[in-house]
């Protein structure tokens, strides 16, 4: 792998706090190594800004290995940037070339208010989970782990849905800012397991109700969410969500 150095222009959204109107600011970033991660490039820029007496760019990040779901950012119009199935923290600078202008914005959605610069609040997702995204089993109530065999296909499908990291890229990608992919992943994860059966009907109804209450939009059926999901969660989960919802609403107890 040939490494190279590049000079870039970064057009970054700056916003002091939730009440500030916000604006774009352009920065020259010189001598960026192709071996850096995207966030390391911003680290370097921030160090230079601090040295100059300016305020660094605020952004959310934590594990930097693509699993905690804390990093966000819309890079050149795409949540988590140009690489498929990759979070911003795993995006590396070899995705760019010398002289590029890169535009960086926060995830934009009414339900995700900006806190500062590129940081947004995603607590709406926590509230959706509170509405029913769990199995009601107190500690100590469990039977033996092997007491209920689960078909491997179902367990695998459940796992594939549970791989969602709750980052919110699906919302940022959707022109309606719909949270259907996130909600469908959780509903699928639990609906595919026998353990999830007792609460299956009320779970989906309650979670959808909370989703609407939070101000997320309706599904556009454009699959932008799936295309931008860093964990490549399938839109088939949305089909399952719709089925679960219909079944739950139409069937009488």
């Amino acid at each position: 792998m040939q490494h190279y150095s590049m000079n870039l222009k970064l057009k970054v959204w700056r916003q002091r706090n939730a009440n500030d109107q916000g604006h774009f600011e352009t920065y020259d970033v010189e001598n960026v190594s192709s071996e850096m991660s995207f966030l390391e490039m911003i680290d370097v820029l921030n160090e230079r800004l601090i040295a100059k007496g300016d305020e660094p760019i605020a952004f959310d990040h934590d594990c930097r290995e693509g699993i905690c779901g804390m990093c966000s950012m819309v890079i050149d119009g795409r949540p988590h940037g140009p690489w498929k199935g990759t979070t911003t923290c795993q995006l590396h600078m070899r995705a760019f070339k010398d002289g590029d202008l890169i535009t960086v914005e926060p995830f934009r959605a009414n339900a995700f208010p900006v806190i500062k610069d590129l940081m947004v609040s995603r607590t709406a997702f926590d509230r959706i989970i509170q509405a029913g995204g769990y199995i009601s089993v107190n500690t100590g109530n469990a039977v033996d782990g092997n007491a209920i065999p689960i078909e491997k296909d179902k367990a695998d499908a459940s796992f594939a849905a549970a791989a969602c990291i709750g980052c919110g890229a699906c919302v940022a990608a959707c022109k309606n800012a719909s949270a259907m992919l996130f909600v469908s992943a959780k509903v699928s994860h639990l609906a595919l397991l026998p353990q999830g059966e007792p609460e299956r009907k009320q779970r989906v109804v309650n979670m959808i109700a909370q989703m609407d209450k939070e101000g997320f939009g309706s599904c556009t059926n454009t699959y932008a969410c799936e295309a931008e999901c860093p964990k490549e969660i399938s839109v088939l989960n949305i089909a399952r969500l719709n089925k679960e919802y219909l079944h739950s609403s139409l069937s009488a107890d």
Binding site: M36, R64, Y134, E151, A155, F159
Partner: protein
Amino acid sequence: MLDAKIPSGSLSEKWTKYKGSVKLVNPANKRKLEIIVVGTGLAGSSAAASLGEMGYKVKAFCFQDSPRRAHSIAAQGGINAAKNYQNDGDSTYRLFYDTIKGGDYRAREANVHRLAEVSTNIIDQCVAQGVPFAREYGGLLSNRSFGGTQVQRTFYAAGQTGQQLLIGAYQALERQVALGTVQMYARHEMVELVIIDGKARGIIARNLVTGELERHFGHAVLLCTGGYGNVFYLSTNAMGSNVTAAWKAHKKGAYFANPCFTQIHPTCIPVSGDHQSKLTLMSESLRNDGRIWVPAKKGDNRPPNEIPEEERDYYLERRYPAFGNLVPRDVASRAAKERCDAGFGVGTSKQAVYLDYAAAIQRYGKAEASKRNLGNVSPETITQLGKDVVKEKYGNLFDMYEKITGENPYEVPMRIYPAVHYTMGGLWVDYELKTTVDGLYALGEANFSDHGANRLGASALMQGLADGYFVIPYTLGNYLADEIRTNNIPTDHPAFVEAEKQASERINRLMSIKGKQTVESFHKRLGKIIWDKCGMARSADGLKQAIKEVQALKKEFWSDVRIPGGINEMNPELDKAGRVADFIELGELMCLDALERNESCGGHFREEYQTPDGEALRDDEKYMYVAAWEMKEDNWQLHKESLNYEIVKPSQRSYK
């Protein structure tokens, strides 16, 4: 001598006996008792959820935007449990024994036995919550093997076990939030502990969005705040992982135990340059099939594929023929360092060794060809078949390697190097997980108790959940049963006022320095000192030097750090500054502890104490104790808890 309050009786009956005789709190009283839980990783989430379910009033705090982000989420490999589903001879005793031995005989027997006992309940609980563990075609749970053991007892969910377990605990936690038993404070950081009449009674937390300091009362305080690996700057920990809450407790009287016991994981992606912000782990499972080597000739700069077989040094297989590439983490890490220090390292930095899958690809390819009865097939076909098998087993890890390095590990050997991964040391706790401050508890990686001087793979998740789901719900009651007459203390109590004042003064002092150097640059320099002199190999001279350097760095930090922005707003640089200031103080204590322990054991390798062939040389006569440090005015006092091995007979670990 410190008393760990280990219940009497035979080892296997202690926990049962304890549970049967421990004090209880009746449901009506539970509703009146408030508990503060700091940190929402596996230990914190599981504790908060379980205590909420029991009826206590819980307040949970995390610095991330959601409890689901805590760094437990990044654990890849799996979680151990003595289920013996594989019928391969596993038992509570074996899990206990492996953990004690893996820890190089520096862990407390009673705690480890309890851990092994509750390990099976954890799996049951997680399955009931809907954690999608890997399963066999018959629908039952699948297991795999892990380093340091001879049985298959590791449960897993692909390479995302930590994520699935944390989401299970997070869901249980959010359910309690919905029910109103747990109140969640995200983007909050504990900045002071409040002690009233010798008992932990609350915390001062900083709202990271507004910068406001808040006072929170609790009848008890639980620290579930993880490890301190980021003292090294570069580690596999998340960027925000920090020691601040534990350090504040330490400064208020909680002893800090075995701080020099840190784990360096052998298979991480090497540093690529000065910009490096963190390191990424490649699961230990890769050592099941990969072969580790360096060129036999010093400074051999040929690409790996051009170095012929006879000019390679498979140094782990050479030094440890019995365990080969599967020696425990501490041994593998030191061996890599030895080769690189001797000038045999590879890559541009020369601080890396090869992890090669070429042989595994051929082996799997041939096996696959014969399985499919393909007869005489071309070498290309065999290679392709082999790659397919490797992809199925390790695909996600290979993809991650390629994303980070831009190199294709199916074609060229991976470059790896050891990196800081876990800290066995932590706040000293007794059998009940209580620190030396009454009413203050430490759970999970934040305490020191279960892993001795070296942790085995797939045991961190187990310990976090054991402490949270199955230990603290019992042991906390023993304390709270005597607290039912304590009314909520109003937060205008002088102790709260004073603690808030301390926190506020420190923040103001930090902001008023207005120096020239960034927080990050101090953190990097600290990391370099600790890594060079208190990392994989330590010596008395180096440690003495390091202590001086860290003290000087502390002075420089407090006179020249530059923190932009203001106090009453979201200010990540200020958050970081507070954490780095604490790491600097901890760094000094780590070196002191390493200097005091004149032996080598587990992750602590003192160059002066090694066998003629370079293995760690323990001194059980003098050092079979837990070193618990009490902070004094401007130094530390050492207290000891002697370790009595009633069941296991300590011996020299041999992997040859």
